[in-house]
């Protein structure tokens, strides 16, 4: 079978088209956001928010409201709780994050185990790419577009906040508001990516693309382009792989991202472990020739 047919065949199914759309949307939003997360050092915060939304999603199913509403409420609540525990006790931030998100995640697991439901709520944990309904798709596209628009419009302020919150304060901006905005956008992004890869693997999409892009460029503006492109390309490749290997789609997407990160980690020209030696050796060869 020619390659073009291999690529086109899955697109013949409506559910596969929706799967591609949802994953690519999630990948682009996650890819953009992950640039700030990896630079601020908020990986654990991304992990926390993505796990903490689980009870919200289960409750939303129980109450029949859009799952985005439940997820958002619990995402924001988790961030607030973490802030409260950290600032009102001697517990350090990473411990506060660990306590809050595991507890909320456990609440979600308990709810799943006791709530009788016709939907398999286990899908929330690992994503349910092949079962994306038309209304799910609309939700993801709208939320994704809104989140992406805010991220890109406020990118300079967010970067200033990530780099030098004191200067932001000095010129009359409020770093707490900017930090809160970024956390709110994190919660929205988690909601967008939930269906694609599931609660457990969302953090991969929030971290790996940004970390990969960071190894490829010294310019933040370029990171903002490279990261979503890597995320989207890995998502598409991952879905094809899962289709033909009959393997977990969320798992395959994240595995692809991990594989690309590994390649970049090894071979990136400036930052790669092997790549920078090659670059240095090439430079050494050039120097005597040009003298």
């Amino acid at each position: 079978m020619p390659i073009i047919d291999l690529l086109l065949e899955p697109l013949g199914y409506d559910f596969m088209q929706r799967a591609f759309l949802v994953t690519v949307t999630a990948a682009i939003v996650c890819g953009v956001l992950s640039c700030w997360l990896v630079l601020i050092g908020w990986s654990l915060m991304g992990d926390a928010v993505s796990h903490a939304v689980l009870p919200g999603v289960v409750l939303a199913y129980m109450l029949g409201t859009p799952f985005a509403v439940g997820a958002l409420v619990f995402g924001v609540a988790a961030v607030a709780l973490i802030g409260i525990v950290r600032s009102t006790s001697r517990v350090k931030e990473d411990a506060a994050i660990g306590v809050v998100f595991t507890t909320l995640f456990a609440l979600g697991i308990v709810l799943i185990s006791v709530v009788p439901s016709q939907t398999d709520l286990g899908h929330i944990l690992f994503g349910n790419l092949l079962g994306v309904s038309a209304s799910d798709l609309v939700q993801v596209l709208v939320l994704g577009a809104v989140t992406l628009a805010i991220l890109l419009l406020k990118r300079r302020d967010l970067t200033l906040y990530a780099f030098d919150p004191t200067h932001a304060h000095a010129i009359g901006l409020n770093p707490k508001v900017l930090g809160g905005l970024l956390l709110g956008l994190l919660a929205l992004t988690v909601v967008v990516a939930l269906q694609a890869v599931g609660v457990v693997l969302v953090v991969a999409m929030l971290i790996i693309p940004g970390a990969t892009a960071y190894l490829l460029t010294d310019r933040f503006a370029r990171m903002l382009v490279i990261s979503p492109i890597i995320a989207a390309a890995c998502s598409i490749a991952g879905i094809y792989l899962s289709y033909y290997l009959d393997a977990s789609s969320g798992g395959m997407v994240v595995l692809t991202m991990g594989a690309v990160f590994t390649l970049v980690y090894l071979f990136a020209p400036q930052q790669g472990v092997i790549g920078r030696r090659v670059t240095a050796a090439a430079r050494r060869r050039q120097v005597p020739a040009s003298v």
């Binding site: 200067h167 010129i171 009359g172």
Partner: protein
Amino acid sequence: MSGPVASVGRKAPDDRSAPALEVRGLTVHYGDVLALDDVSLALRRGTVCGLIGMNGSGKSTLFKAIMGTVKPDRGSVSIAGRAPKQARRAGIVGYVPQSEEVDWSFPLSVYDVVMMGRYGFQNFLRHPRPSDRAAVAEALDRVELTGLADRRIGALSGGQRKRAFVARGLAQGADVLLLDEPFAGVDKRSEATISDLLRELASSGGTVLVSSHDLEALPRLADEAILLLRRVLLHGTPEEALRPEQLARAFGLDLTGRTEE
């Protein structure tokens, strides 16, 4: 595009006769630890003031309290006759952080960092206009970093990094510039460039408060000096501050012990 950068998009200060920086009765605790004890000082426009004190004497805390990132228990700060919040909104206060406070692995160019000085003048999208680019170019020129504008900020030497942050304050057109240990780990050439710039800034009406360990260079740099040890021990000329008996108070040295050496 002629005329001073500092005046772009800026209202004139409300009160020219008010001190550029006035601190009254400032007291700050960290938990049970007293960091600043009833600190009062006033700086006139056009002066460079050196802030001298040992580690833990409260220099950084004083900067933070002036900036408003640390809440004092008591006391007040006024900048060019304005409340700190209004002064910050007007872009009057510039801050050059200590090296340890900056993430030098951040993927931003020197140009990007200096442009951040202009954000206060821009609309909420922070889209740079020609006047912003001109201000950044002029600031880079004044700190002699024009050729390194595209370099990653962390790839600069210690002295060049400081000059980049001073350039950010220049691009901002800050009337009051606060510098926390700008000469730590800085080569002599950069120290001289920065000192000259601060003097220039003062002679054009700016006000500079700079903490420093380099006592030798103080008389050349500063018009005034403050010795700080949680309280203001002395506010006078650099020569007064550098007298051995005064330094001994500020640094907690035993004078008789030193003469025996």
